[in-house]
Symmetry: C2
Subunit: 242 residues, 2 copies
């Protein structure tokens, strides 16, 4: 893959951790690793820093570097490695097959709120894309997305019936790696109940947020109303300022 020194170190260390090569949960010290991999200690530190940020390891000055016990027990929760933020990917859980049913696809002028979030002006237009997401034919969420036409002038209903993020990666070679999300819960509306086969007392999870391209351009505003049984939003937070 990438031919970066620190990534190679990371990759090998992860492999060793997964292989259980550190039964006492303790990694070799940085100077030894530097020597073993024949790279500078700076590069070792970088690799370890990223892994610590991801919650795989933790470091204690004067004491050593240790594997997070929970990483071994519950790897699924950690690390979005190699993935993007798209739902097509993150919902490929339990071997279920994702599906998309296009409900609506049109171009509308950007509302003031959209103008603010997507950094647009009065003259700008956006696609409005309303889709029903399925897992094994079961409807699980209603997704309404807004994308500026000036960012993707070539968007077609064909593309929109599949994964937009994968299209971006495969065809235009840009990836979506940043997002703001707000997660909330609400009683289901009649439309929710109809489309998601919900009983009146059953709620929906609401995930709304903004997705950004690599270069910081706000790319999409999205609002997702999720069947509560399928809604599980996992996060790992680390407030250490690096």
């Amino acid at each position: 893959m990438a031919d970066l020194v620190y990534k190679n170190v990371m990759q090998d260390l992860k492999r060793r951790i997964n292989d259980g090569q550190y039964p006492d949960k303790r990694l070799p010290d940085e100077r030894s690793l530097s020597d073993a991999y024949q790279v500078s200690r700076s590069s070792v530190k970088r690799a370890l820093n990223v892994m610590a940020q991801q919650g795989i390891i933790f470091k204690k000055r004067g004491s050593g570097t240790f594997v997070n016990p929970l990483y071994l027990k519950n790897k699924a929760v950690f690390s979005y490695e190699g993935r993007n933020l798209g739902l097509t990917d993150s919902m490929r859980v339990d071997g279920m097959k994702p599906g998309i049913k296009l409900l609506d696809f049109q171009v509308i002028p950007a509302t003031p709120e959209l103008q603010q979030d997507l950094f647009l002006t009065d003259d700008d237009f956006v696609y409005q894309i309303k889709r029903l997401r399925l897992l094994d034919e079961q409807p699980v969420m209603i997704e309404t997305g807004f994308i500026p036409i000036k960012i993707m002038p070539e968007l077609s209903s064909n593309v929109v019936s599949g994964s937009i993020f994968n299209y971006l990666e495969d065809i235009k070679h840009v990836s979506v790696t940043k997002s703001f999300m707000t997660v909330a819960a609400e009683p289901s509306t009649e439309q929710d109940q109809e489309l998601l086969s919900l009983k009146p007392n059953e709620p929906v999870g609401v995930m709304s947020g903004i997705f950004f391209l690599d270069d910081g351009t706000p790319f999409e505003v999205s609002n997702m109303r999720v069947h509560y049984q399928y809604m599980k939003y996992n996060t790992f937070m680390d407030l250490d300022a690096d």
Copy 2:
């Protein structure tokens, strides 16, 4: 505060950004900053990397470093600077006064699930702490927490009636900076409806997770059932591997 070079640079850059000293959203290049602050370019890079991680700025190779427009428009969402992960702090929103009502406080043997999550054995015991959280006297969430007694043997019902995290910071000088959280939605139970004044069709948000001490020790398993109108979980994600 901390007398670290890169933190000083960060602090000053944030101030300048907030003061609107970069009207074109463009920061000086790294070499100029290095020269201006009389610090090495390495330290400037470190400061900028942290700020990029926090979503305040974004960088484009060959082009420059720019302020994230959304940072200026919506600062509230960004940056937990100076805060910890405690709820007492993060719920001090809109000037409302937080309150805590202790519902239950006892010591129980660790269940197998707790043993797994908190890295305990059969012999270990945990505090079970059930509390009702209030905002301006209004009940907003039911919180059930489990903390190993061997981590905090001195825990009293007095401490538990306040902020445990603040107690840890002020008295024991350790802070809680890492957490795994899973956010979901559920129909309210009868107990939820009673304690949170919910109608039968109104749901709760469920936030459950594990909090860690600085050194990686799993410290608390927590399960929070939140009045849906008060449940808003914000996250900023950046999947760039450093």
